[in-house]
């Protein structure tokens, strides 16, 4: 018990003194997850709004596949990206295995289905409300998509935050494609796994606390955006 308390004391000390190693790991984690989130949002929001406002043969099957991809096991994604990026893989020529770029690709693949499926649902609900108004105005598909994304923006920010939460807390894929290389591809989750196995509890705890704080912050932001939605857009 005393050992644990000591570990907590050291962990808080590392956070308060802004330990350079911890800072480096946290910043890389944020960088990787934010870039992956940006890619996921660009793909997810645009495809989500197109899917939400289109009817085509086989749409149901496409939706089932996308919804299933929300539960993609990160280690399987990691393995697939590893195989594609390894020397003998299809994209081996890019030479990006064990770099932050590979981690961004893996995280994007994990986050995109979440952002896509949730934004599709949000935008489709809104489109169902607006569709007769749009038809009546005879406006273009592009104008419809722009309107839907803008009017659903508060809810879409919540969707993006959910995706970010999933990305930053993920460990299986980034450890396979990033390799957990010190000062290069080491992020919070991979670091926690490594330091715990090495018995360096204060370091792992410090990162764990920061990860938890980020998670609390994301939840607070989600709540704030929900309140904003009600205040400014009323549902």
């Amino acid at each position: 018990m005393i050992e644990f308390l000591e570990a907590f004391r050291l962990a808080f000390n590392l956070i308060i003194t802004l330990d350079s190693n911890i800072l480096e790991i946290v910043l890389l984690s944020l960088k990787v997850s934010l870039i992956a989130l940006t890619i996921a949002c660009l793909i997810g929001f645009s495809l989500g709004s197109i899917l939400a406002s289109s009817k085509f043969y086989g749409r149901g099957i496409v939706l089932i596949i996308i919804n299933s991809f929300m539960a993609l096991p990160p280690v399987v994604v990691g393995l697939a990206v590893y195989m594609l990026l390894s020397k003998s893989g299809m994209f081996g020529w890019m030479n990006i295995l064990y770099t932050p770029s590979a981690m961004i690709i893996a995280q994007s693949i994990i986050i995109t289905p979440i952002v896509l499926a949730l934004s599709r649902q949000v935008i489709e609900d809104l489109n169902n409300e607006y569709s007769e108004f749009f038809v009546s105005l005879k406006i273009s598909k592009l104008q419809i998509i722009k309107t839907l994304i803008w009017d659903a923006r508060y809810t879409l920010i919540t969707v993006a935050l959910a995706g970010f939460g999933r990305g930053i807390a993920e460990v299986g894929a980034v450890i396979i494609v990033g390799g957990n290389i010190n000062h290069f591809t080491r992020v919070m989750t991979t670091s926690i796994a490594l330091e715990t196995s090495m018995g360096n509890l204060p370091f792992a705890l410090a990162l764990g606390i920061i990860l938890l704080l980020i998670s609390v912050l994301i939840n607070a932001l989600v709540m704030a955006f929900n309140l904003t939605t009600k205040k400014y857009a009323f549902g």
Binding site: E132, S136, K138, I139, A233
Partner: protein
């Protein structure tokens, strides 16, 4: 608001292109939804440039008919000719539709009007504050549109539709469930638009309202036209038993 100011504001939303959509001929119009016949061989013509009121019991097909006119729904068969032309894209672009349940964007009151200007690409500036003044919503201009009362939402929906600067305005029971104040504002606007030469087709259940605003009345029942008469004749001389039953509250 003074009537002159009211009209001066409305005159700015007068159609830019004067596209004559009349007469409107509806021939053998049918609509089936899930094998249910909603409209069956509807035949009628609308010639007058005044206020045409469509009446009929629930399920008569009034709203569906209005939505087909606006292109929101596609009929199963039959055709509509506008000023003897089947090509009616011009006419469709100068129509505006006011829904029974207002469809407002998740934006402020003024942003709902701004939206119309942006998607329709207006060159001529229309004072949105003036429009809001007409429907007595100037104080709520920065409020979320969906937080307005139903009456206020419908008034906003009406002025927003005027930003299309329509030649033909279709109103689907716009005053259903509204208080007398909101109903009067909407009726006043409709009557003023009629004076400006905008053709109005107005669906209502309200017999007194039809007496106040209609010039001619189309009576639908079970997806068919039963009667199309001038207002006076409709209320005093209709030979149709269905119309008489409806007016007596039996149908």
């Amino acid at each position: 608001m003074h009537l002159d100011k009211f009209n001066r504001t409305l005159i700015r939303i007068k159609p830019e292109k004067n596209i004559n959509c009349l007469p409107i001929y509806i021939k053998d119009l049918c609509l089936n939804l899930d094998e249910r016949k909603i409209l069956s061989s509807l035949n009628l013509s609308i010639n007058s440039d005044d206020v045409t009121v469509i009446m009929g019991p629930n399920g008569a097909g009034k709203s569906i008919f209005l939505k087909i006119l606006n292109g929101i729904l596609t009929p199963t068969s039959g055709c509509i000719t506008w000023n003897n032309k089947k090509q009616f894209s011009d006419t469709l672009n100068t129509q505006a539709f006011v829904f029974q349940k207002p469809i407002l964007l998740r934006r402020s009151v003024i942003a709902n009007l701004d939206y119309m200007g942006s998607v329709l690409g207006y060159k001529k500036k229309i004072s949105k504050d003036r429009l809001l003044e007409i429907v007595q919503l100037q104080k709520q201009k920065n409020q979320p549109a969906r937080m307005l009362s139903l009456g206020e939402q419908q008034r906003l929906s009406l002025v927003r539709s005027l930003m299309v600067r329509p030649n033909l305005l279709l109103l689907d029971e716009p005053t259903a469930n509204l208080d007398p104040g909101s109903t009067k504002i909407i009726e006043d606007i409709v009557l003023n638009l009629k004076k400006m030469g905008i053709k109005i087709i107005f669906v209502t259940h309200n017999i007194l309202q039809a007496k106040r605003i209609a010039d001619d009345i189309i009576f639908l029942n079970k997806g068919k036209m039963v009667e199309h008469l001038g207002k006076k004749e409709f209320f005093s001389n209709s030979k149709s038993i269905e119309v008489q039953n409806y007016l007596n509250g039996i149908l």
